[in-house]
Symmetry: C2
Subunit: 153 residues, 2 copies
C-alpha cells in the first residue's frame, strides 16, 4: 500500500464526514431556495458582508472567509450583482470591495430565521452542547491548517 | 430571541464547521481538476459506482449515497454521460441505473492516489486517530438523522 493510501478506518471516517456535510448542504439549500430563492453561497456572502463594517469587505477577504477560490467568488458576485443583492466597488489603490445592497440586507433578514431554524433542526440539535463544541473544535483544527496552507506559496 | 435563533456559541460552532467543509471541498477540487480534470462530484460518482456490484447503482441509491437531490444528480449524470465517464441504463421495471464505463474506471484509477494523498494531507493527518474517529462518530450521528429526515414525507 502506498504511503499516502487511506486505511479502511480513515476512509470510512472521511466518507462519513464528507457525506454528512454534502447532505447537510443539500438540505439547507433546498430550504433556502424554497423560502427565499437564495443559494447557500448567496446566504454566505450576504451574512459575511452584513456583519462587516459598512457592509463591505475586500473581495480577497470575502473569498478567504467563505473558503472559495477566486473564479468561484467572481462568478458568485457577478450573479449577485445582476440580482441587485451585492455590488463590487473599486476603492482607490486598496483594490476591489464587495458591498451588500439594501435589497441584499432585506433578503438576508427575510431568510435568516428560516435558515437558522433549519441549521438548528438538522445540525445543532442533533448533538449535545458538548458534542457540538467538540465537533467545532476538531473542525477548527482542520480549518486552521487549511488556511495556513492557503497562505503557503 | 426567537426559539429557533442560534446562540453565539452555536453560531460559532456551525460556521467553523461549514467553512471548514467549504474550504476543504475547494482545495480537494483544485487538486482533482488540476491533476485529472475531474470535479469532486465526478469523483464521488465514480467511487460509488466502482464499488457497487457490476459498477452499477440505482440512480435513487446513488443520489442518496452522495447526499444530492434529484435535479443535481440528473445534471451530473448528463455531464458525465457526455464525457463518457458513466452511462444511464433503464433496467426493466426496476427503474434507472447509473453505470461506470471503462473510461470512468480508468479516470478514477488515475485520480485516486493523488486524491487520497490530498485527503490525508488536508484532513486525516490533521487529527489524531482518536480525534478522527470522534469526528466521524459525531458526523455519523448527524448523517443518520439527515437520512431519516430524507425518508420522511
Amino acid at each position: 500500500m502506498a504511503a499516502h493510501a487511506l486505511t479502511e478506518r480513515e476512509l470510512r471516517a472521511w466518507r462519513t464526514s464528507f457525506r454528512m456535510l454534502e447532505l447537510l448542504r443539500t438540505r439547507l439549500e433546498q430550504q433556502l431556495q424554497a423560502s427565499s430563492g437564495l443559494s447557500n453561497a448567496d446566504y454566505t456572502v450576504l451574512a459575511l458582508l452584513s456583519e462587516a463594517p459598512g457592509g463591505r469587505l475586500r473581495v480577497y477577504e470575502l473569498g478567504r472567509a467563505a473558503g472559495w477560490e477566486k473564479s468561484r467568488l467572481h462568478h458568485q458576485l457577478t450573479r449577485m450583482g445582476t440580482r441587485g443583492l451585492a455590488a463590487r466597488e473599486r476603492c482607490g489603490s486598496r483594490g476591489m470591495y464587495a458591498v451588500i445592497t439594501e435589497k441584499g440586507r432585506t433578503a438576508l433578514e427575510e431568510a435568516a430565521p428560516g435558515h437558522a431554524r433549519e441549521v438548528r433542526r438538522l445540525f445543532v440539535d442533533r448533538l449535545t452542547p458538548e458534542e457540538l463544541d467538540r465537533f467545532a473544535d476538531l473542525a477548527g483544527t482542520v480549518l486552521d491548517h487549511l488556511r495556513a496552507d492557503d497562505q503557503a506559496p
